[in-house]
């Protein structure tokens, strides 16, 4: 079943998938850029947070 004619009746329908795609790509590129360039010491430090035990009943 083709719905293409109904979509054509919406002005500029292509904008709907495009807007979030551009937003997503831009944001994701930014986050990836940050993650890949982040300093190793800072990453190691953050990844150890769960292991910093401050409860006395830790076995």
């Amino acid at each position: 079943m083709k719905f293409i004619n109904y979509l054509q009746s919406i002005d500029g329908v292509a904008i709907y998938p495009l807007v979030p795609l551009v937003l997503f790509t831009a944001f994701f590129a930014g986050a990836a850029w940050f993650a890949l360039r982040a300093e190793k010491t800072s990453m190691v430090c953050k990844s150890r947070i769960p292991l910093e035990s401050n409860d006395q009943y830790e076995l």
């Binding site: 079943m1 083709k2 919406i10 982040a38 009943y57």
Partner: protein, 714 residues
Amino acid sequence: MSLEKFSYDNRTVKWFAYAAVFWGLIGMLAGLWAALSLAIPQLNLGYAATTFGRLRPVHTNAVIFAFVGNGIYMGVYYSLQRLCKARMFSDVLSKLHFWGWQAIIAGGALTLFLGYTTGKEYAELEWPFDIAITVVWVIFGANMLGTILRRREAHLYVAIWFYIGTWVAVAMLHIVNSFEMPVSLFKSYSWYAGVQDALVQWWYGHNAVAFFLTTPYLGLMYYFVPKAANRPVYSYRWSIIHFWALIFIYIWAGPHHLLYTSLPEWAQSLGTVFSIMLIAPSWGGMLNGLLTLRGAWDKVREDAILKFFVVALTCYGMATFEGPMLSLKNVNAVSHFTDWTIAHVHVGALGWNGFLTFGILYWMIPRLFATQLYSRKWANTHFWLGTLGIVFYVVPMYWAAFTQSMMWKEFTEEGQLKYQFLETVTTIVPMYALRGLGGALYVSGMILMIVNLVKTVRSGSFVADEPAEAAPLPKVIPVSGKGHWHNWIERRPVQMVVFSLIAVGIGGIFEMIPTFLVRSNIPTISSVKPYTPLELHGRDIYIREGCYTCHSQMVRPFRDEVARYGEYSKAGEFVYDHPFQWGSKRTGPDLARIGGKYPDSWHYNHMLDPASMSPGSIMPSYPWLLEDRIDKGKTPAMISAMRKVGVPYPHNYELQANKDMEQQAKEIAASLKRDKLETLPDREIVALIAYLQRIGKDIKAAPEKPLAVQEGQQ
């Protein structure tokens, strides 16, 4: 800097842990029962409450919202406090959260057994529960955010991002999908109709899997796997990418549940593309978890907890590879409406959610009670029982799915369908029995765990308030590394909430805008008319008995389906369907063109004893429909609620609806009488027959020449 002394609240964690175990057992037993009743129909017991159609929603809701739900809270309340180095924000909120959620579960289970359901999968609970869920979810969010704001650790560890993302996304999904018009205290009609309802429902349904069963458990994985292995997560960089990619992409994948249906094609394609993209972050996350165990594989051989985690992550990887594959149209053509879907979700539910929960329980309970696990050997036995259970569950289901799908599609040389629908069911009944064995193994493993944990609890003494100390958060947090916006956001929980909302909101809004924007987006078919009052009552009965759990109402445009059921379904046929009833599984045949296919008397006898009309049928019988009276008092409220959601009943029609209903009921009673079946016209069976005889008939009344509006879509 002076250290502040405080304590962690272990009591709430313990309650949630107990609740997860208790409801998990109940939910899995309900599942086992439902599964066995497909192999042995007598297990439906002849009571309304114990038929498959009511048991199945109890099972799915109990496992998702009660077992996994309490599992999430258990893990979040334990890890959040420790990751934030702070006690939960408010003990009162913790209590309200716990008891509120348990009340919803108990009330929800009871009403589902009684047949109060919205008829929308995984969102079956009726409107008062929807409101209660919203309130409790807000309490959970306030408690969580309050704790984060009072934290003594500058950086928000990645697990917390997943918790925040979960909270935001579930809030949005639940509210959008639950728009409904109350008819009575426990009955409502979906605000949306037909195609729109389907789109919203599966946008919700898919994301319930994503944001209730996946993202919170990934958060738990990022905390408990490093804890159990005593080493940090393999790559923190990956975890950042994992988080953002997952929450952005997941929200788009919903329409893959509606391939080949009457959903606009662009939306189907979008769902497929984003589903394929999902493999990358999902596998990134799985590998991140598995590689955390690098250098600790010798421990995996000994330690049941790590074994549970490894299989959980592997199942997560398998399910997230399979998911995108199922969203390919050619694979979906085979898998959809078969047991493949059931196998797929159980790899996730039994493997990923179940095993991760078990691993966490074995790790956490001894720590809450300052003792050792009672028996490591039993934990290992549980691991093997569970693993075998999963294998014995999913292999027969895959087998059944392929067998049945191939049989559905097979034609003889003369061009006739080779198999009757019922033959394709009786062939796979042995697989249903074998699946029951898998389920029984899995449940027996869980019972062993319960005994083990009870003995552990008895051997220790509970540490309700676990003392801890940490330096307070400095007013100005020293920045390590380069000043990057992501560094900034990682320390700001409120902004994290807002950005997560934007991320999931964008996906959701843009996915659905075109469908809602133009009314003509759903082509109207002039011969499609609103249901009569009697048919509406029949439809409510159809929903109440959970017929949609086994019967679809969606003929896909395939040769075999058109040959078997009739003309394929059109979007415009469902404009008055609040809620839509397309279904997701064909344990019984499709009903989209059932109207007029059989005489009224056939339906009467079939509902009384399905096997009398279809020898070998595994459908339960519904004798109470022959006795129970139609609730005429509700008719005006039903008509009025339907009008409010857009069904064009004439002004003041509710005043004469009952009169019209009696007239139509008398005609059906008379038709039954001609076939020597005496029934009073005010019985529920009459309403159900009226509805069944109406389904899919409207377009047959359409003029020979298609209307102008229809031409474009043919």
